[in-house]
Symmetry: C2
Subunit: 199 residues, 2 copies
Amino acid sequence: MAYNIAPLAELINQFERLPSIGKKTAQRLAFYILTQPKERAEAFARALTDAREKIHFCKECQCLTDMEVCPICADSTRDRTTICVVEDPKDILAFERTREYRGIYHVLHGTLSPLDNIGPDQLKIKELMARLADGTVTEVIMATNPTIEGEATASYLSRLIKPMGIRITRLAYGVPVGSDLEYADEVTLARALEGRNDI
Amino acid sequence: MAYNIAPLAELINQFERLPSIGKKTAQRLAFYILTQPKERAEAFARALTDAREKIHFCKECQCLTDMEVCPICADSTRDRTTICVVEDPKDILAFERTREYRGIYHVLHGTLSPLDNIGPDQLKIKELMARLADGTVTEVIMATNPTIEGEATASYLSRLIKPMGIRITRLAYGVPVGSDLEYADEVTLARALEGRNDI
C-alpha cells in the first residue's frame, strides 16, 4: 500500500487487537482519533494507563478495585455469612443492580476449562478456601454462568466445600421474567418444570 | 452503584465516546484492558498520542501523513495532470487498491452540508483551487460519494472549476461488479441503463 503511515498503522493494530473489533472498525476508530483534538487523544491514553496501573484485585473478594479492599468488602453493613461466587467482576454489577443481595462476593476470574489449560490453580479457588476457613461463612451461593463450564466449576467447588459443613446453593433455573414461553429453549423449560413451586 | 472505580469509569467513558461503541461494548473493552499486561495498555496509550501528534495533513493533497508531503504527492512517477477529489483520506486507500489510478489526489475532508453548518470554508476547497491555479492540472475527477451531499459538493466544485478550462469528470454510475441485478435498487439500475456502452 502506497499510503502507509507507521503511527496510524500502529494505532489501527492496537484497536484491532481488542476483542470484537475487526479490521474495518479498527480503521474507522483510528481515523476518528485523528479528527479529534489532541487533548482528547491524550485523555484516552491517560485513561488506559491509569486504569491499568491503579486497578488491581481486591485482596478479599478478588474483584477489581483501586483501593486495597473494594467498597463492598469494606462495607460493614454487608452480611459476611454469605458469599456469592461469580466468574467475572462484571457479574457483581449485575447482582448489585438487583438491590436484593446484601452478602459479599468472591470472583473466580474464569471457569475450569481443561481444554484451555485452565485448572483450579488458574482460578481464585485457593483464596476462596482461605476465606471460608475461619468459619464466619455459613452459605456459599454458586453463581457461575449456567453453561457447561460454569456448572462443572460449581460442582467442583461444591465437592471441595461440602466437607466444611457450609451450606451450598445454586441460582434457580427457569424461564426469564418477561420472556415468551414460545421461544424458551427446551432445556430451560425442562428445568423450569422441574423446579416448579406451589402457588 | 456500590462498585464504582473512578479510573475504570473513566476508561469506559473514553471507549464509549468512540463512534459505534455502545455502553456494553465499552465496558467489555475496558475490562479487557485490565486483564492485559501493563505493557500492552502502555503501548496502546503510546499509539494514541503518537498517532495524534505525528500525523497531520499533507501540505499538498490534505491527506493524512507523518511527513511534510505524503508518499503519493512525493512520488515523482505519479501523473500530476490529474487530480482525483475525494471526501475522506480513507477513499484514497480504496483507489490505491485498484492499482489503476496513477494521478494524484485531493482530500476535501467532508462534503457541503448546510444543515450541519458545513460550508465551502469548512472544506479544503481553497487549497484545491490553489493547486489548480498553476495550470499543470488538466483533469479533475470528482470522486465524492454517490450521495446527495457528495453530488451537491461535486456540482458546486464543477461550477467553481469550469471557468478555468479544466476538464471535469465524475465516476461512472452503474451496477457493482459481481452483484445480482435482482437486488439492484431502481436508481442505480436507471443510471446503469442511462450510461450503457456499446460492446
